[in-house]
């Protein structure tokens, strides 16, 4: 079944492509088989991450950027992520609603994805889904993260260019953003520039970037700050221009290789930890864990030693 789906996907069949994405979401074994079989067909797509606080206008901007990318003849993929409720397991995926005008364009593939427990702003299957869209033939893949605070920065391990979308009037939140998100952005957008305080926010961001002169002098890239009004298209040309400039900056240096190698390294780490976690689940029953918890509660053993015991039992080696 998987071979047939892959064959159809490589010929440009959207339904087969969609089924493959479902399989990598639902089934780890199948994900592994699929990625193994398509890996040689990947590596062509350019990946643009769009991140920022909830409701800042990420989806509306992606809608406009799809148009720009299409006008230049690119095949475009979109993976739009929204959160899964930790309490019910359910999710309401509402990004697609802003991009629906593109859904009948044969050169666009949009897929909504729920986080299903992942905390970094993406879903566990996002990277595999990107590979599928890459092999399917997308030239550009937009990845919209969930609305983020400051620590959900997994997008930096996934995208070639990271666009951070903020809005005016976040006030002290800009300070908070500085901590985590600021460091991962290649381009800053102040969306909703029709609202009061846009200029102040722009100014604040520029100021902050100036203070980090050392950092970008070393990297060779000074992140630009672009102001947009997503629903009137204002500033979208400038944003697309900035994205293209960053793309050229990466492609014309060894930076892109550096970035992609870093990404593969992170991916290996993630796969290893997920495999170890699964192995532990297989080798240790709830009862075994309960025994250890009991021992810890009675202060017969400390948590570190208990963890060592778990790993020893699961992996068969002392760690």
């Amino acid at each position: 079944m998987i071979n047939e789906l892959i064959e159809r996907m490589l010929k440009g069949d959207k339904r087969a492509t969609a089924r493959l994405i479902t399989l990598v979401e639902n089934d780890e074994e199948k994900a592994r088989e699929i990625v193994k079989k398509i890996y040689s067909n990947t590596g062509r797509a350019y990946i643009i991450g769009i991140t920022g606080p909830p409701g800042s206008g990420k989806s509306t901007l992606v809608d406009k950027l799809i148009k720009k990318a299409r006008d230049e003849g690119n095949i475009v993929g979109v993976i739009a992520i929204d959160p899964t409720s930790p309490f019910t397991g359910g999710a309401l995926l509402g990004d697609r609603i802003r991009m629906q005008r593109h859904s009948t364009d044969p050169g666009v593939f949009i897929r909504s994805m729920a986080t299903r427990g992942s905390l970094g702003g993406l879903a566990k299957a996002t990277n595999d889904a990107i590979k599928i869209l890459d092999a399917y033939g997308c030239d550009i893949i937009f990845v919209e993260t969930v609305g983020v605070g400051q620590i959900e920065v997994d997008i930096v391990k996934t995208a070639d260019t990271v666009v951070l979308v903020t809005v005016p009037g976040l006030g002290d939140d800009i300070q908070a953003i500085k901590a985590g998100l600021m460091e991962i952005a290649d381009i800053f957008v102040v969306n909703k520039a029709d609202k009061e305080g846009a200029e102040a926010t722009m100014f604040e961001l520029e100021l902050m970037l100036d203070l980090e002169k050392d950092k970008w002098q070393k990297s060779g890239w000074r992140p630009p700050v672009v102001s947009t009004i997503a629903f009137t298209n204002k500033g979208v040309d400038e944003l697309w221009g900035a994205i293209n400039e960053h793309m050229e900056f990466l492609l014309n240096s060894d930076k892109i290789e550096e970035k992609r190698k870093f990404r593969v390294g992170e991916e290996i780490k993630a796969i290893v930890s997920s495999k170890i976690a699964r192995k532990i689940g297989e080798k240790m029953g709830e009862d075994d864990i309960a025994v250890l918890i009991e021992m810890i509660a009675k202060r017969e053993i400390d948590p570190y030693s208990a963890a060592d015991l778990v790993l020893e039992k699961a992996l068969g080696v002392k760690v």
Binding site: K14, T88, G89, R96, I97, Q100, I110
Partner: protein, 144 residues
Amino acid sequence: MVKRSKVRVLIAKPGLDGHDRGAKVIARALRDAGFEVIYTGIRQTPEQIAESVVQEDIDVLGLSILSGAHMVLIPKILKLLGEKGIKANEDVLVLAGGIIPPDDAQELEKMGVGRVFGPGSPIEEIIGFIDETVPKLKKFRGES
């Protein structure tokens, strides 16, 4: 029972009517019941809906229509899905809701709509029907 968080539902409003309360109520209720729900909103063309079904690989298509145009829109959507190789009741469960008279509902159910849920339908009944019907889809029988 198929795990609800692996059941993907698309709620869409085809045609031109702007009555979106029912669609939103249903979308939220299904999310709260643990399903993955994609909401595409009002003024969707049958073509947009059929394409979204393909790209999102959904299992349940929920159509909400209060404009009276259901006998035109729903058959059109079923036809477009068929052209893409997606069969109602086999590949996808199609549900309809809104203002749909009983005679039309019967007709639609003959065409492939799993069930029509009119005003006042208890949400438990809708969820129960999905839980009961989804395992019969090819995807969850492991056949495709």
